[in-house]
Point group: C2
């Protein structure tokens, strides 16, 4: 049987336990040209919250009654004359929160599990890592000596952003929640400084750590932290808008950045990004990042929980921050 998590209702604010329903259905059969994939790990990402809203965005919303969308890694266990993928191949893609998926192969990518463990392929070598790579290099346009600030610094995206910026010769300050995460940034990942937003005044922290201001701010959180960062931009600064986790469960209007006129004063740029635009270069990025991992310059940490029935409890950790690294749910034994 195939355990599947179905979107039952559209949440208002933070999703509750009734938002999804776990069902048990027969394992489907692949049609001509399709494969059946057994999913082992599911990626839990803040963006999932946005996909649940019935509004125009960069991707259609998950419909009520559909399997909840999620990034996955799994193995092809049956092929109905698929032109490319054979039984035994390990693929990442959009399998959704379920134990078995049918796919025609679009937006799936084969991975080599002898080079990195499966969870890494939905983390640092998957969408979050790609987001970090293209966001900080293509949108942030970092160069040696830049002062880089990243929020969600201990998260799946932010931790990679900061490490890539260090590899490129920048000074890097991360914002994270709690002393443990901050210690992780400076002692494990080599960040030059960390600001604990749960226990410190962020604006003051930025001023102390970046007395000359910020060249690049990579924003995963929005809200007051975005405002604090805007208040410290240097001339020609770049602000990368990757996400706004502090605002995703709002029941009122999103808080706009009150300090946005800092863009004018500093001739700065604020630019949004969506990782899917860079799909044609994923392979190149994964190779480069894989190289950095092999050299020990890029570290990856996954926080893995088990059991599809624990999806709801695990999902909440995205927003409470009670996790250490990339949040992953194991839904089947590999």
């Amino acid at each position: 049987m195939n355990k599947q998590l179905i979107l039952e209702k559209r949440p208002v604010g933070m999703p509750d336990a009734d938002t999804w329903k776990l069902t048990n259905n027969p394992i489907p059969e692949p049609k001509e040209g399709e494969v059946l994939i057994e999913n082992y790990y599911i990626s839990l990402d803040p963006a999932m919250r946005g996909w649940m809203n019935d509004s125009k965005s960069y991707i259609p919303p998950v419909q009520l009654g559909e399997v909840m969308r999620a990034g996955t890694i799994g193995k092809v266990i049956k092929s109905n004359n698929h032109p490319k993928y054979r039984v035994g191949e390990v693929l990442t893609g959009w399998g959704g929160v379920q134990q078995y998926s049918i796919a025609n192969g679009d937006n799936y990518y084969p991975v080599d599990t002898s080079l990195a463990p499966m969870p890494t392929y939905i983390g640092t070598l998957g969408m979050p890592g790609m987001t970090a790579y293209f966001g900080i290099l293509e949108v942030g346009k970092i160069k040696e000596g830049d002062i880089v600030l990243v929020s969600g610094g201990a998260g799946a995206v932010g931790s990679v952003v900061g490490q890539i910026a260090k590899i490129k010769g920048c000074r890097v300050i991360g914002i994270a929640g709690g002393p443990e995460k901050c210690k992780y940034l400076t002692e494990e990942l080599g960040f030059d400084g960390a600001i604990d937003y749960k226990n410190e005044n962020v604006a003051k922290g930025i001023k102390e750590h970046c007395p000359k201001g910020i060249d690049v701010y990579f924003d995963n959180v929005g809200g007051e932290i975005l405002d604090a960062a805007l208040g410290r931009l240097r001339m020609h600064a770049r602000v990368v808008i990757c996400g706004a986790i502090s605002q995703y469960n709002n029941t009122t209007a999103i808080k706009g950045p009150s300090n946005y006129l800092s863009l004018l004063v500093n001739r700065a740029t604020m630019q949004g990004m969506v990782v899917m635009d860079y799909a044609k270069d994923y392979r190149m990025a994964a190779q480069e990042m894989g190289g950095w991992m092999a050299e020990g310059k890029l570290k990856s940490r996954e926080d893995i929980y088990e059991g599809i029935e624990n999806f709801y409890d695990t999902f909440q950790r995205l927003f409470t921050g009670e996790k250490n690294g990339k949040l992953v749910l194991k839904v089947k034994e590999a």
Copy 2:
């Protein structure tokens, strides 16, 4: 004697009549290498409000007791061995709200009054025109076929932005206050449409006039109009942050754009600009714009008031919108 307007106190909110004081002082003597300029016209611009705040910005604030900063046009009436400018030359520059200025020539430019009347050189061929030119071309990066929306569309900057966009083959919609100004945009300046923000719902108006969305939004006003425009961006749209006149007299925090996540969804860019960065190319821009004016493709309209003692009443028109075109104060007979 030299009538001068002195900044007496820092306003909170909208400046009142006690903000400045008119004084009468002897006409100063130029020192070695300086010139004495008789000022005829003074440019009134929304940016002046920002220069009165004691806060870090793109230019130092006007200090209490100093002559109020303003763009001017006047004639050299005395030269103390100035290396470049001679008696009789007409110059634009930062003469301030006074009848006579002393200058060493920095940031002054000679103009040819046989090609255009003096007020045009502090309007369409002066700072506002330069702001429009570099803002829409260099920051907005317009190309043929783009859908361009401009707020403050009947103002000194916005009216030029829209006309340049028309010259470049864009579809142009302006936002302005009142039916007269809207008629001016469509019937005189050739805009494709106009939205009357004083009598229409702007978000609805944008939807009607730009059913496919906006490629470039040139913002002079901020506030709710910026939010409405952000809500209708097309993919890879550019938002030029030139000003935020709706927020300049706020006594509470500036309203940040609640819809800024549209930048993410649409991979769009919001960029600030300050015209002074383009000083080395002013001459080239003035030549090109002068050519367009001669061909009748670029129209200029100045609304001229008289008398330095009427500065305060005239200044208020910037914020009430009770003006038709570029606001100019004549302070002396040429």
